[in-house]
Symmetry: C2
Subunit: 307 residues, 2 copies
């Protein structure tokens, strides 16, 4: 399409409606075999299908208005199962102020939930991956490694003390999109680039770096306390779980240094936190600094588990 | 959603953009195992996934602008296969003046192509299923039974003479949406209700009848010549193939009698034909009149074949 307001390959697509307005669209598909871990209910799977799409709108600072659902249902799914899916879809939509306004159903071997989101935005207001400049501060909206740890517990039956097990498992079964944070940040004009971390923190950093033609130096790895604790007990590598886990719906953003305070306040008012973890660099590499030494962060992403 | 401009369950969804404009949305999924017959190439399957969605826009008289695609790809699909799918999607989009502006890919056992369409319309201009009144003329944009016959040839290896085989098989492999006809008809204001015939002619009639609270009397069954010929040779029932086949993307419409000529001219100018096959009745049954006797047309629809 000529003159696309958002480049092909970004997290959402957009087209011009005239009068400075954009239609913003997004579609993504959840397939049970690869995206629904053991112990996740159909209600939770349906809600997650919505959340993972909302998260991309959050990263772009766009409010989702309407949701369409295309369902591929296995032949042996019960009527109660279908109702559970419908309830989960609606719950996910209402949680973020959107409505399921239509869709279609068909038959499929794997349960398949394809979600389409629609919203509108003012021209020039959609946060892209491509605006980061050297010197910008690198920020995230939360700590990482919880879903990677939670999946070890759910998929590999890893043991975990009760006081951290709940949080880690919950992060997988009931993910939350940072929509309020994304909308608040978009209004500050402080953000130069943004993405969500659904493919893992390392992958997100490389995506912004490549789209913006910059690099990153990470100075503080944002590992969740529960993850650090589990890694100590079970002899896992916290850096690995923090950087290369996935299905974590935090926002990864670059912020103009002069507007950091404004951005932080906006996120706090939206009920969230903004953590500075490093900065954008002219050198086009993604590096992690620990104990005075620099290591390359690989452009490796989370794919999905397989049952 | 409060005050939906198009009722839930119609072929498209819509929401108000303000200033009398509607955003119109549609999503539907093609699953290879049930929707892609033998001998259909990946290019054709991808194009068909687009066409079946465009057809719903055609029935509503709405021009599609942008297409998003969510692909579930089997692990063993080659890179050439993926390229063929991408080319088929683009070909389908460009054939109807729309653009593929984004999407996502994931892994799935069945090849799954979920399409989302976006377009805009003026408020009150979207053709619904629910406006038919007794006395309206019942019309279709083409003859029926070709895909049902074509599927017998492709799936059941039914023999057919060369001079009709090509047309019947082509109707399955290269379906066409009646977009120009739908757009032209929408501008005439002659149409009181509309639907496409993807679930079969009988099903479409029952959907309009039920949404409009009317019935139909069919006086001329629009059987395609090629289908009639094959039925004679192979001892098949042409009524059955005409009414209960599916994946046929004709429009089924009710027309205000006084505006019939205007509607017919508009369709002709768009390169199509409009066939009157009966009329809407106050009696809420769907009846077929042949040789002076009336038979009930069952509310039975085409589902899909299974390989």
């Amino acid at each position: 399409m000529p003159r696309m307001p958002v480049p092909f390959g970004d997290d959402v697509s957009a087209l011009n409606l005239g009068r400075g307005k954009l239609a913003v669209l997004k579609t993504d598909m959840l397939v049970a075999r690869t995206d629904v871990p053991p112990k996740m209910t159909l209600w939770q799977a349906a809600r997650k299908a919505v959340v993972m799409n909302i998260s991309d709108f959050a990263a772009k600072g766009v409010k989702p208005k309407a949701i369409l659902v295309s369902l591929g249902l296995p032949r042996d799914l019960s009527e109660e199962g279908v109702q559970e899916i419908a309830d989960g879809l609606n719950a996910g939509a209402r949680e973020y102020g959107a409505y399921v306004i239509g869709g279609d159903t068909g038959e499929s071997s794997d349960l398949t939930i394809s979600i389409s989101l629609f919203g509108t935005a003012e021209e020039g207001e959609v946060l892209l991956r491509s605006g980061a400049r050297p010197g910008d501060l690198l920020a995230v909206t939360g700590r990482f490694g919880k879903t990677a740890a939670g999946l070890r517990i759910l998929v590999d039956n890893l043991e975990a003390p009760d006081e951290i097990r709940g949080t880690l498992v919950e992060s997988v079964l009931m993910p939350r999109a940072r929509l309020e944070e994304g909308l608040a940040l978009s209004r500050t004009k402080a953000v130069t680039a943004a993405i969500d971390s659904s493919d893992g923190l390392a992958w997100s950093l490389h995506e912004i770096a490549s789209a913006s033609n910059i690099g990153f130096l990470i100075q503080k790895l944002p590992t969740a306390n529960e993850t650090a604790r589990l890694c100590k007990i079970s002899n896992l590598d916290p850096t690995d779980l923090t950087l290369y886990g996935g299905e974590e719906y935090e926002l990864v953003l670059t912020i103009k240094p002069k507007l950091w305070n404004k951005a932080e306040k906006a996120v706090n008012r939206a009920g969230g936190t903004l953590l500075q973890i490093g900065k954008a660099t002219a050198e086009k590499r993604v590096l992690l600094e620990t104990k005075g030494r620099r290591h390359t962060i690989e452009p490796r992403g989370y794919e999905h588990f397989r049952t």
